[in-house]
Symmetry: D2
Subunit: 157 residues, 4 copies
């Protein structure tokens, strides 16, 4: 069974986040990893496009019960029908989770992945978390580039 | 994107159901369909084994949040962490649903697929439903063999 | 904590099923049980109306993420946002499950309640299940009246 | 139908957070609001205890499919069986969401509530979010005391 990496990020993203997501997708496909994503637009579409361009496999875990609005680069579509609860499914399905950019939905995926705590979570850009004393909440790894994001997963030592 | 067919059935199954499931998996893989299943034992393991033996792709939608007890023939593992609610995800993910054998969990998948009503549902063996007047509840197609089950999906006219 | 009883049934129901559901709601409220239901129309609305008329408490577990289409007799509304997966929540929330009438959604609730197997499941009218040999699938209790349905739960010996 | 307020917070909390949660529960009950919470320990148990001491109604939305580990102050128990996806149910069930303290699970609830964006979200203590430019992410209201948290919901003008 191939390594699976969940890539999370907002539908409304910046051009830089889109480029980063595309590059993350390409690099994951080149290393033979299956990409898990939310299956819609923005970062989700970009990571899928990047992976497909490199002949990778992309699974889209949709919130809707049907394929409406799914991006065109998915190899496999899982229309869950459980709404935003599908964010948990995405968080649970990766051997690592890479987060590109920030939004409330994206943050919920990051938080659910950190909550179960079974796999490395790497952030590329996006929001920062401070605890009640103003210090960074420990746990999430911060990468400066798509390539470093993959390295920080520790999946390819 | 390949055709996806969800195959449902009990963990505790008869040898005949297991053989049927294996054959359904083989036939689906030969026709290029991705098999979606519950990812554990019994019918789920048999359909996965049949598809993998024919070099097919098998997605296991697990109830657990991790890979524990997943069968060894899955190409892609989706550990949902939503318990039996994952039956809805299985019911939603097929362009058709094929049910092999009967159990309460299996019945819930059949019922959820008939509930959304978007795709053909074909039963091979298993339980029968009568309405309050003792007549068969319409909607589910009943096949006499694995090959006929695939034909009755209407996906390969 | 009060006894909780989940009452399941179709949105599109017969006048007889509606009357049965209303009576089930009334009887449950009179015995001090909290009614759990799906929160929309048909059997769900009738059981809620019956319970509220007897000053009972009714919880509506909605499939939608908001209160749209909720019936007016709910004391507490739980808009899950998980679609039909909310049927599992209903099946899990009762100390007993009473099913009035039949539909695919209703059948999924009955099946999920039998799947976990922790509480009595009583059917009033609705569909019948036969196993592969044409015999009734054991487990569900069949009542002939609302009063008998409550008795068959075994919650009030 | 009564106002419903979801109160989120970690199982492992500080004595101060526990006191705040208890006070939030008491104040909500005194104003006639139904308290929705996760139903287990820490902040969840404290808000339930506070509300019950003031004769309020408390609904516990559990991740487990049964009542194991539920706190003793729940009026109504909803054992969802959908794991951490129940955080979405909590986020969707309040006319406002009050967050006491911080943890990854708590953050997922806050994020899911902000994601749907239908109700005010008020934080008492806990973590802070900065966007990519180091500025506070707008949207969540920050209260300095339990009483102010209730006021900031805008539900009692």
């Amino acid at each position: 069974m191939a390594i699976q990496v969940s890539v999370c990020g907002p539908r409304d993203c910046t051009p830089e986040e889109e480029a980063d997501a595309r590059e993350v997708g390409r690099l994951l496909a080149e290393r033979g990893a299956v990409v898990i994503c939310g299956g819609y637009g923005g970062v989700m579409a970009a990571v899928a496009a990047g992976a497909r361009a490199a002949e990778g496999t992309v699974v889209g875990i949709l919130s809707r019960p049907d394929r409406q609005d799914a991006n065109p680069d998915l190899s496999i579509v899982i229309p869950t029908g459980i709404g935003e609860a599908r964010n948990l499914v995405i968080a649970n399905s990766g051997d690592a989770v890479i987060v590109v950019g920030g939004s409330w939905g994206t943050l919920s995926e990051l938080a659910l992945a950190m909550r179960h705590g079974r796999v490395p979570v790497v952030q590329l850009g996006g929001w920062r978390l401070l605890d009640r004393d103003g210090r960074p909440v420990p746990g999430v790894r911060h990468a400066a580039s798509p390539a470093q994001a993959l390295d920080m997963t520790g999946l390819w030592p």
